[in-house]
């Protein structure tokens, strides 16, 4: 008898613990990028979200492609509730039917978001506007570069770094060179031919964005094809870096947020995305990360405006259709591995 009541009590207690756990402490798993990006996501998005909802956010760090691979591997029961990924990978996930269609009615900030940020069928929304452009050391490069061709100047030989094709800046730079040399998306040969000598003499073909920080710090390079947001953060930490926007046009990057299917708490996930799109939080993130905002009501400080593409640079910016890119990237990568790296 005694043991029975003990058992019952234990079961009841376990029940209370379990139910209180599920009722009060909601958990949201966020797939984010690493480095300063993650710090700023925490400060500008996660903290206001946790304060408003009482939920706890757990971040899982990775690159766009790693997040996409994880969402596919756990198709229909993703362990991540909200995922950051560049648009080429977001569109791939959307095409494979892995993403929930965003419900604009649940996003109070949706009307303030620029049209270009939304996916064709609202499968994802861009959370910020970045770019692939030229970053240089102000102390060693006295005349600011004005063209992609400046990277090929013999005086920088061996003191340039460009990204490997596996990273966003790598394929975007290839696309920009290709367009400059008269190629089309279907004919990447001019771009491949143009980039080959630069890739060979490059101090490093970086595969992680933060590798470039170390190269600038050690004085191994003077100039890089890199991201203005990373450069802005590095400049804030004391590196003498500046961004230059080539006259042929820098290439736009749209890191997106989306919700994988089958997470069981889509409402909470929508609330998180709404927090991301909020004007005040967008301004916070843009100023810390030196990246463009997608909210029309955000005005950036002068310091940030000097780094992010504005005015003419923004008008000339090349935006590549993520659907086109998702189908072409594997082929570009294969040709890069075979023709550029050897």
């Amino acid at each position: 008898m005694k043991s029975h009541s003990l058992l019952a009590a234990a079961t009841a207690l376990a029940g209370i613990v379990a139910s209180s756990h599920s009722a009060s402490a909601q958990e949201l798993v966020l797939g984010s990028f690493g480095g300063s990006f993650a710090d700023n996501v925490t400060a500008c998005y996660i903290e206001p979200f946790e304060a408003a909802t009482g939920a706890t956010v757990i971040t899982k760090l990775g690159s766009s492609s790693q997040h996409a691979a994880a969402v596919r591997a756990t198709a229909g029961q993703s362990d991540m509730d909200v995922v950051f990924a560049d648009d080429a990978f977001a569109v791939q996930m959307a095409n494979e039917g892995l993403l929930v269609t965003l419900n604009r009615a649940q996003l109070s900030n949706a009307p303030e978001i620029i049209d270009g940020a939304w996916a064709a069928d609202d499968a994802y929304v861009a959370a910020m506007l970045g770019a692939t452009t030229i970053i240089y050391n102000k102390e060693t490069v006295t005349t600011p570069p004005t063209s992609w061709n400046d990277l090929f100047d013999p005086k920088y030989e061996g003191r340039v770094t460009i990204g490997d094709v596996s990273g966003t800046s790598g394929w975007q730079f290839l696309a920009a060179l290709n367009q400059m040399e008269g190629g089309t998306l279907d004919d990447i040969t001019p771009g491949i031919e143009k980039v080959k000598p630069l890739a060979k003499s490059s101090a490093l073909l970086y595969s992680q964005a933060d590798q470039v920080v170390a190269l600038f710090e050690r004085g191994e390079i003077d100039i890089a094809v890199w991201y203005p947001d990373r450069a802005g953060v590095a400049a804030g930490n004391g590196l003498p870096l500046a961004a230059a926007y080539p006259k042929e046009g820098a290439v736009g990057i749209r890191p997106t947020v989306s919700i994988p299917k089958g997470i069981g708490q889509e409402e909470l996930a929508h609330k998180f995305i709404d927090t991301v799109l909020d004007a005040e939080n967008q301004k916070c993130f843009s100023e810390r990360q030196f990246i463009g905002s997608v909210n029309k009501n955000v005005t950036l400080s002068d310091e940030v405006s000097a780094i992010v593409p504005v005015g003419e640079a923004l008008e000339k910016m090349l935006f590549l259709d993520p659907n086109d890119m998702a189908t072409r990237l594997p082929e570009w990568t294969r040709r890069w591995q075979r023709e550029v790296l050897r």
Partner: protein, 283 residues
């Protein structure tokens, strides 16, 4: 009969772990490797193809990576053997007082994380790294030597990381060589070199085989060190598989490559162990 059952029972926990965590997931990849990947859409589940396998042999780039991986495995194994044998010999046959410090010295690198060890080599080998800066400051070279993102960097890094495995295997083998067999050969008039070549070396063959197989398999399947010291430019099979899976999202190609790697590993181990056994007179 009873001993067989006891043996099976003793084996079963490990057997279960290996089956559940290794063999089953591997078999799950078989269908994937025969599927077609359509960029932008995903893995086509309606059609079967052998193209993923044909490509490994037909495509010049894949072929180069496969041959490079196997060559690298053989070269690192040979380096570890040549560098490791004297060390193992010294540990077993040298002054007993040196045995513990020497063994600790060999094991010490294993106590450091693989990423830290590889990063250490980056600090040493990079264009403006310790070695290049020293050589430039001494006026021996003008432009930095390219020590990374090529065979040199990978050979140095992998040999350093896998040397302890070889040494430990050889120590065990050398300890098993009866000293009186060597003494008998000497008494019968053999020179020290001849004793080593005709008695010690063949008797340590099992250790050489085991150590070589271990180092070879670890080398050709290594991912972290080749990625860090080889970068995106100098690809081996493991990094290529990683890229196919994680960057191109082309799982069918990645699976086919994984199988090619696994099968060639098994084949090479089988052939080499047969050959060495014959050499040691064990077959």
């Amino acid at each position: 009969m009873k001993s067989l059952r006891t043996g099976a029972l003793l084996l079963s926990p490990l057997l279960f772990v290996l089956l559940a965590a290794f063999v089953v997931p591997l078999l799950l990849l078989v269908p994937t490797s025969f599927q077609e990947y359509r960029p932008g859409q995903g893995i086509a589940t309606d059609a079967w193809t052998v193209q993923n396998y044909v490509r490994i042999f037909a495509d010049e780039f894949y072929r180069e990576v496969v041959l490079r991986t196997i060559g690298l495995g053989a070269a690192v194994t040979l380096c570890c053997l040549i560098l490791g044998y004297p060390v193992a010999y010294l540990i077993v046959r040298g002054n007993p007082r040196w045995r513990l410090p020497l063994t600790l010295l060999v094991i010490f690198p294993l106590m450091l994380n693989l990423v830290v060890r590889s990063f250490g080599w980056i600090v040493l080998l990079t264009n403006r790294g310790v070695i290049n800066n020293l050589l430039i400051d001494l006026g021996l070279i003008e432009r930095p030597l390219r020590l990374m993102f090529n065979l040199t960097g990978l050979m140095i890094g992998l040999t350093h990381i896998y040397l302890p495995f070889m040494v430990l295997m050889l120590v065990a083998a050398l300890q098993n060589v009866p000293r009186d067999v060597e003494a008998a050969a000497s008494t019968l008039g053999s020179s020290r070199l001849h004793v080593f070549r005709a008695v010690t070396l063949p008797l340590t063959a099992p250790g050489i085989i085991a150590g070589s197989i271990l180092v070879f398999v670890l080398t050709i399947s290594a991912l972290v060190t080749p990625r860090m010291l080889g970068g995106p430019t100098y690809q081996v099979m493991a990094t290529l598989i990683y890229d196919e899976y994680m960057q191109l999202l082309d799982w069918p190609s990645g699976s086919a490559l994984s199988f090619a790697l696994a099968i060639s590993t098994i084949l090479i181990i089988w052939i080499s162990s047969r050959m060495t056994k014959r050499w040691a007179g064990l077959a």
